[in-house]
Amino acid sequence: MTDLTPVLTATWDAEESWKLSTYESHGGYGALKKALGMEPGDIIQMVKDSGLRGRGGAGFPTGMKWGFLPPDDGGPRYLVVNADESEPGTCKDIPTMLSAPQILIEGVAITSFAIGCNHAFIYLRGEVTHVYRRLLQAVREAYEAGHLGKNIHGSGFDLDVTVHAGAGAYICGEETALLDSLEGRRGQPRLKPPFPAVAGLYARPTVVNNVESVSSVPAIVDRGVEWFTAMGTERSKGMGIFSLSGHVTRPGQYEAPLGITLRELIDMAGGMRDGKKLKFWTPGGSSTPIFTDEHLDTPLDYESVGAAGSMLGTRALQIFDETTCVVRVVTRWTEFYKHESCGKCTPCREGTFWLTQILKRVEGGRGTEADIQQLLDTCESILGRAFCALGDGATSSISSSVKLFREEYERHVTEGCCPFDHAASALFDYETKAIEEAHA
């Protein structure tokens, strides 16, 4: 059995865990002081050697991303933290910032020092009032203690941090859309190249990192590369927060080495709800192809999940038991992508619209056999042709679910209705009334 490894979550149960004093009493900001005595290049090398990969979904090596910045030309360069956590199923960064915002602020300070940034931004999704309160306070407390501001701890290094709230747009989790949004524009993705490392915020060299990636940096600096690489698998090093949601007895946040399996995690979560059978799950949010009970022992690392046909994504493990209609779930996810499509490119804007039309028809028992093939064909027209990953992600659950549960789609067609009692999937009892209305 794999042991859990609380590092990022280690202080969450402390009294007033969100306060600077609590964080410091648990050794917080020791890593910043250590980092300020190092050469910035050595910190970058350290993070490269640690093998830390982006925790926001794509899994790109964090140190390498930092290393892509061009040499200092005397002008500004920026760190932008992606705190726009919105991928369905993903719920790790919000509790991190609510419970222990200082770990992120310390990570921001160290990362900024390493890459030569004097003004960092945290782009928080706008729909989490109390998290924003905590972040604003955390930044203010860090300034007051001299962890931010001018000449930090006598190092000569200056850093300002601005916490910025978005206004409701999933697409702003895409790093270039996030930058446009942060510049006060509609949040639409940019053509790459140039990548943000070369021309990012205000067309200046910019690193965009996820909350959990940045929050992992202090521990790596403090405890060293070997400590970090001792956790995880060959090419997926370290720990990460696994977020279990859905039909398990104790959903929640489980911080573990990469490579832990869903079987182990469900076991820790007290098993499936009421001893029911696992039907399907997402390894990394709704943009990752779904898995079934055949994948219970797939190590949850980047390579193994990829080899099994999905993506580790954000480790957002949404778990659905046998009472759940897969067509209903996939329809609702697709409506999400339709709602969140920014409209910039045709495959995504039109594709998600038509996919929703077809899926709602099938789910409502008004579909035909040809609709199922049409779904696959439409997905094929989107995948690889959309401007950014949102369009691709919209197709994942459709293609994978038709492959795994085609007969369930067919039952909707042949029986002329959804064969499931929706109330059976809920956590409370109710009598099923009419088919739920369409999504907004």
Binding site: V7, T9, D13, A167, G252
Partner: protein, 217 residues
């Protein structure tokens, strides 16, 4: 603009604070729109004009941005924004039924406001609290592990003018306008309000403590 001199003066003071946070003025636009909503309760024509003047854009350019984001409201919003998550996981766990009952109780549908101006109802997308599904948000504060009864009680309280308390975080949900001021980046002195973390947040940590899985250093 039809703002009183007093309101305008306050807006200008706050706007200067917001603009000062960024190296480039235009970046202030999103928080400025939140600020406008904190005064007018929606993105009003006056608010658009004010933002345009503040960041040197045309009002068309400001409108183009405002209409992109779901949190910016084009009509006067209710005092409380009540959002029921009906994205896939919450929907399946009971969100659909909660939505049905809440909507029936309020007598309004998605993006509609009750006649008394108390509640604007919204079917919201995933709000990053899936381990607490089904989830409802009131002015973007968490109401976790909802049932129809719990949700209806919250709605009742709002409609009858009683304070409502989230299940995590702050002690009391502020009004829509008060919330928008926070989202514009102004501290309201309530960050230390807390109700303890819910079981899901601490689920893994609790097991690690019980098992004595100390971090290997």
């Amino acid at each position: 603009m039809t703002y009183t001199a007093e309101t305008l003066a306050q807006l200008e003071t706050d706007a200067a604070d917001i603009v000062g946070r960024y190296p480039v003025k235009r970046s202030a636009l999103l928080p400025l729109l939140h600020l406008v909503q904190s005064v007018d309760g929606y993105v009003s024509p006056d608010g658009i004009a004010f933002c345009a003047k503040t960041v040197d854009l045309t009002s068309a350019e400001v409108s183009a941005v405002a209409t992109f984001y779901t949190q910016y409201k084009r009509r006067p919003n209710g005092e409380y924004q009540v959002g029921v998550c009906t994205t896939a996981l919450c929907a399946v766990m009971g969100g659909d039924e909660i939505w049905r009952q809440v909507s029936e109780k309020c007598g309004v549908g998605h993006d509609e406001t009750t006649g008394d101006g108390k509640i604007t109802l919204e079917r919201i997308e995933c709000n990053a609290a899936c381990d607490y599904a089904p989830v409802m948000m009131v002015n973007w504060e968490f109401f976790d592990n909802m049932t129809p009864d719990r949700a209806l009680r919250v709605v009742d309280d709002i409609l009858e003018g009683r304070d409502v308390k989230p299940t995590r975080g702050s002690h009391k949900v502020g009004t829509f306008k008060e919330t928008e001021r926070v989202l514009a980046g102004f501290e309201d002195g309530r960050a230390n309000e807390d109700q303890g973390l819910g079981d899901p947040t601490l689920a893994g940590l609790k097991i690690a403590r019980e098992q004595g899985w100390e971090e290997k250093r």
